[in-house]
Each structure stands twice: as C-alpha cells, then as structure tokens.
Symmetry: C2
Subunit: 411 residues, 2 copies
C-alpha cells in the first residue's frame, strides 16, 4: 500500500515549538496524525508488513496490513461478503497510544461525566446499562481512508480501502441518557466527547487530547456503547465505553470516553480546531474550514482483484460494498470498461439500516483481456459517488469511483 522506506519515515514538517520535546518524551512523535498532521509531526508512514502491536496482537495477521503501531488496515481481499467486518480483521487507527489494559479490568466501573444537561453527573457503565438499550450497525471509516490514492501524497497513513468496516454496536442511546438527566441545557448546539487516553505531562492538553464536537442533532442516533460485534468492546477499539455517532468518520466516535458534554461552542482542542479540516491544497488548516464529520456516499469492489491473479474467462460475480453516508444506499452501478458504460448491480444480503454498508453483486461474463472494474453508488438523498476526489491538503473523504477502480486480467 505504502511505498515509503525507512529513510522517508521522518516528520515532514517541523514540530510545534515547545511541544516537540514533550511529544518525544511521551513517545508520541509521529503517532498523532489527526491532531497534529497539519502543523506538527506527520504520521509515521511505515512499510507494510510490520508485526502486530501488543494491544492488537489478537488481530488476524493474514487479513491486515500493519502500517505502524497505531495504524492497521484491513486488506481489500479480506473483506469477504458477510456484511459485518469481523473484529479480528477490523482496522485500527489510534490518535494516541492505547491506554493500559487496566481500564478494561472492571468495565462496569468506568465512568463518563455528562455535562451540559439539566442535571449533570458522572455515570458508570453499570448505571448506563439500566437506562436504555439499542443496537446499531454502521460503517466505521477513518477520515483518511482512500488517502493512498491521492497523487499529492498527503501526510498521514496511505490507506486504500481498508480503514473501514461495518460494525455492530450495542449500548444506551445518548438521548435516553440525556432524558434521564433532565434534557440538554439551553444554548448547546454541540455534542462534545473527550477521550480517556493518558496525556503526557508538560504539554498543553489541548494540543493532544482527543476531543471532538459534532452538531447536537447527531445525538438522536448516537450511542454510548459497551459492546461491538457481540463482545465487550476491545481496548483497541475504545472499550470499555465508546461514543458512537453513526454516519460520522471514525475520529468523531470517541474511544474510552470520559466526558460527554453539550457545549455552546466546538471544542478548542487542536484535533478539532486544526485537525481533520478540509483544507485546500497548500493551505494550512484552520477552524474556518469544514470539519471532517459526515461521511459521503461511497463504494468499492472487493472481488475480483488484481492480486487474485489471472481470471478464467466466463461468468464472474463482481462484488463489493456500498454505503450512503447519512442516507441509505439506493443503488449501485458497476462498469467493466473503466466507467464508459454502467450496469445496475444487485444489492444482496441483509439490510442492516441506513448507516450500514450493503453488498452488491453484478453477475456478468468477462471475455479474455484486461478490464477496469468500477462501482458507483447512489444514496436515497440523490447523491452519487463522483468520478474525481475532492483535492484537499490532508487527503480526507476520498470517495472517487475512479480512484477505487481495479484492473483485472482475464485469460
């Protein structure tokens, strides 16, 4: 995926004055792509094929590519066709080092401070479990998924398609928690979540804390979740408690959440104010630029792939996944000629709700030769996956169908 060599594995921009040594002391240099990508250390672009880090040692090594200790990508060939991404194949992208295992030793004791409600208080997971229960399936996707297709080679992990998965979450609806605490206080247009990572000493917490704000309307479908794919959320994925904001990119789904606040303003944390902004190429990130939040309509083909080798001529089941961002998938078209002509694909398998991905298949015959296969999804809001990516400095939100096309050889 990435062709970087160790020689290029260096921060490309200067570290923030005053924070460089503290970051280095905390072992954070090069590990904080999202929050610091624009102005501090670029994420380590490491060669693929590294060993799995300890906190994720249980991942299926054959199904993933380890980019770095905090960035692990699902191989395109490993997605399979069963809608849900198995936990041991799901990507990992952590903005800070993973907290110690001790925080999942007594999961029910973990507490989240709820603020900006009429009756603010701390609630343990055990208490949350009494307040309500729901389950939601959603695409979890890193904001930078598809960055590897940007010719501009933005800083950050060069993900192709595998910084995404379709995951089942269970927990208490945030709206039930809010109702139990008297409702949202007046004048709070944002829902702000703060992660429970251990922050380094000697550095302004705002420069490193994982804290993100989303519009308060996102509360309606949000969960405080303790379970993922039928098991307690692994530490690597944010256990014991994670804020789930369906339809929003991964970073907005705060791991180890320790504070959920309804706020009059967006967080001033660097990861919010400067990180994850859609900055024009060559322009520094700032809070006036759009934040990376809601996902766009997107699809890609998972089979056949070039790595499958030469295909036999004849019948083939071209298949992949499609999701609609904030709206359900309406349909998917597939092209076998690089986008000159398109045929409607068939949606198959279970429909797990508007935030989940759907599988699609086109049963067709491929003659001998070379074929460029592409897919193009449309959602129920009328948005269709574009041919070209939106160029931006950090390589976010790539949903270009051309970038995701694959070329296969039939003999």
């Amino acid at each position: 995926m990435t062709t970087a060599t160790p020689a290029t594995n260096l921060p490309r921009r200067r570290l923030l004055a005053g924070s460089a040594s503290a970051l280095a002391a905390a072992g954070l240099a090069g590990m904080h792509g999202g929050a610091l990508a624009q102005s501090a250390a670029a994420p380590a672009a490491t060669p693929a094929g590294k060993p799995l880090p300890g906190y994720a040692s249980w991942k299926n090594a054959d199904a993933v590519t380890v980019h770095s200790a905090t960035t692990i990508e699902t191989k395109r060939s490993a997605f399979g066709t069963s809608v849900i991404t198995p936990t041991d194949q799901l990507y990992v992208r952590n903005n800070l080092p993973t907290p110690p295992e001790s925080i999942v030793a007594d999961r029910d004791a973990w507490k989240v401070q709820v603020e900006g409600v009429k009756q603010p208080r701390a609630l343990s997971v055990a208490e949350l479990k009494t307040l309500g229960l729901d389950t939601i399936t959603m695409v979890l996707q890193c904001s930078g998924n598809g960055r590897g297709f940007f010719p501009s080679k933005p800083s950050g992990t060069a993900w192709t398609v595998g910084a995404a998965g379709c995951v089942v979450w269970s927990g208490v609806p945030v709206r039930d928690v809010v109702a139990a605490l008297g409702g949202v206080a007046d004048g709070m247009p944002y829902m702000t979540g703060t992660g429970g990572e251990v922050l380094p000493e000697g550095i302004d917490p705002k420069t490193v804390v994982v804290e993100r704000s989303v519009p308060v309307a996102a509360m309606q479908d949000a969960l405080l979740a303790w379970e993922m794919n039928g098991e307690p959320i692994p530490l690597a994925h944010g256990g014991p408690l994670r804020l789930i904001v369906p339809g929003f990119t991964g970073v907005n789904n705060i791991k180890y959440i320790k504070r959920l606040a309804f706020t009059p303003q967006e967080s001033e944390a660097r990861i919010m104010a400067h990180g994850y902004r859609i900055s024009p190429p060559g322009v520094k990130a700032d809070p006036s630029q759009p934040s990376v939040q809601e996902m766009d309509v997107k699809s890609w083909i998972n089979s056949p792939l070039p790595e499958d080798g030469t295909q036999a001529a004849g019948l083939v089941q071209i298949n992949g996944v499609a999701f609609g961002g904030m709206h359900a998938v309406k349909g998917v078209e597939v092209s076998t000629d690089g986008g000159k002509t398109w045929q409607p694909a068939r949606l198959i398998g279970p429909d797990m709700g508007k935030y989940a991905w759907r599988q699609f298949v086109l049963s067709t015959r491929l003659p001998k030769g070379t074929h460029t296969l592409a897919s193009r999804a449309t959602n129920t809001n009328g948005a269709t996956q574009p041919q070209e990516r939106l160029e931006n400095r950090s390589g976010y939100n790539n949903n270009s169908w051309a970038d995701h096309a694959v070329t296969v050889t039939v003999a």
Copy 2:
C-alpha cells in the same frame, strides 16, 4: 448444566450388534448422539468445564461450556446484544470426529458432487464461486437445544439455550447451481446432503454417515456456503463448504458437504431414518415419526440472569433474542411474574431477515423481591411460543417459554 458424573458416563443402551466393536475401534463410541442415540451409544454426558478440543482451541473459553470433545455450548450470559453471534462464541455439535485440517488447506479445490439434476457433475468451490452469490443470516440451532430442561433427562447433551447462534453465511444459492446444471431431474421431492467426514472401516456406512434429506422446496433459500461471519468457514463449523438450509435445525446443514443430491426418497442413513425423530416418550425412533427439520418460534431472556447476582432495585432493561422458525418474528411479550401477566417488549437493532433472530427489550422497574422473568414470541404465521414443551423421547425442539424463564433476585 449436566450433573452426570464419570460413573454415569456410559452408553445407556446396547450398541448395535456388529457395530459396537467397530465404533470403539474408530473412537466413535459415545460421539454419535444424533444418529445412534436411540439404538446405540448414548452421547457422552460429560461434566461441564472441560478444556477446549484442539479443532476448537480458538474458541473463547470464557464464553462457552465444553460438554465433550464434540459438544460446546455458548453461555447464556455471553450472547450479548449485537444480533450476530461471534464465531469464537458459537456452539459446536459434531456428529462425527472433525475431519483433518488438510481439507481446508486448499478450500477452492474442495468438490461437491451434484446429482439428481439434468446435468449431474462435480463442482469445485472455485467453480461454485462463479455461479452466484448471496448472503443470508439465520439462526443455527441444534435440534436438542433446550434438552437440559426436560425432566425426563433424555440421552444426549443437556443443552440449555446455548446450542444456538445467529450467523451470517455467504455462498452460492443452491437454485443457481441447479439452474446451471439444467434444473432438478423429474420426480425428486427431496434434497439430500452428504457430509465429507472420514468414516470408519468395517462398519456399514449408513449407520454413521451424516446424510440428511429435506423437502426440495427448501432449496429456494438454501446456500452452498464457504464463508461464515465474514471469514472462510472454520473447519469446526463445516468448512470448506457447508449446506445451509435456513430455518432447519443444525443437523440439516451438512458440514464438509461432498454430495448434494435431489432424490426420490429420503436418505436411508440411520441419522435420517432413526436419528432426529420426534418419538413419543418410551417409544423407539422410526421413519414414520416426524423428522426434526423446521424450527419453531422461540425466545429467551439473556439479561438479567440469576448468575448476575442480586440486582439493584429500579430500572432494568430485560432483553433477549427471539426467532420465528420459518417465519419472521412478529412480536415478543415479557412477563415479570412467571407468566401471569405479559407486557409487549420492543424489538431493537437490525432486522436481518426472517431466518435471523431479533433482539427484544423491556424497559421496566423491578421492586425488591424475587421475580420470574419469561419471554414469549409470536411469528408472522400466528404461531406463539407455548408454555409447555412437547414431550419426546430424545428431547428435541424445546421451545417452552416456562422452561426458558429465569428467576432473579432484586434487593
């Protein structure tokens, strides 16, 4: 779950004349509950808590109870609330020893012989993958799930609720395979699958082979599946290829399928002719009795449970799973007074189709005291889960809501 001691861990009935020594030589004595339960070796009723057998060493030991080397049950407390049962928690019930790992070394090379069609032939998994693709979610449930609640203590594993799970399968629709082979031959009312287990020498194959027939109409929703929950089907669950017959009990979903035949008659294998029959108490099994095939409407509560200990008084989310057999779940009622009164529960989470289970929840307040919690599902065909089990010799198809009730203490 089972209270049997090693001293009672003996066949309770005489082995079939002529096959006893062969079974013993093949290490099969006591391992072939379904096929031989009525007339030969009773399954080994072993104490719970044994170590995981090698072929299933990757199971989550904390989430399962190992009854024997071929029977592993999901703990009721481990089901969680995420619809899909994680593979490492899913029950195992094998009728014969697991085939060698070598059969999954080259999955695409595995062949199934298709017969009783206009153009019979063998097809490799690689060939099957070109013919069609679909994904189905279904409850996989052992015919004997709930046997542990029969006061008559029938032979066989004393499963409570955990010989069941909700699983996603991907593969080729059987109807697509049949269409590619010219259609079903005339006069074939049955679809018969034969498992690829290695059979012992010196014994009539019909007495041990796993071969089951279902009505040919079941073909419409059936798959030849190579993937389960997003990964190639593990050997323990029937990989590289398994026949999936949605709505039918586990034994009808033939593992390591080597032959799929459309046949004029039901298989004469013992596991079909005498095994898995609904025999009246005290009456030997015979082919005139109903075969255990289609599942019935059923539900149970997974939380709270007695093993959670004393509950705090106040709000509680009583939740569990419900499935409708051959029809979707229409609704679930929950009782907190042992079935005297019922309240409608809320169905939550994704609806993965009529063969999947649904989660239900009743948000209620429990005062101090002892409460017997029960659930009762109704399907879209109008069938409601009965209070009492249907008594039968081998303890099949238990869907009694009274048997599945739990008693919890609130202080």
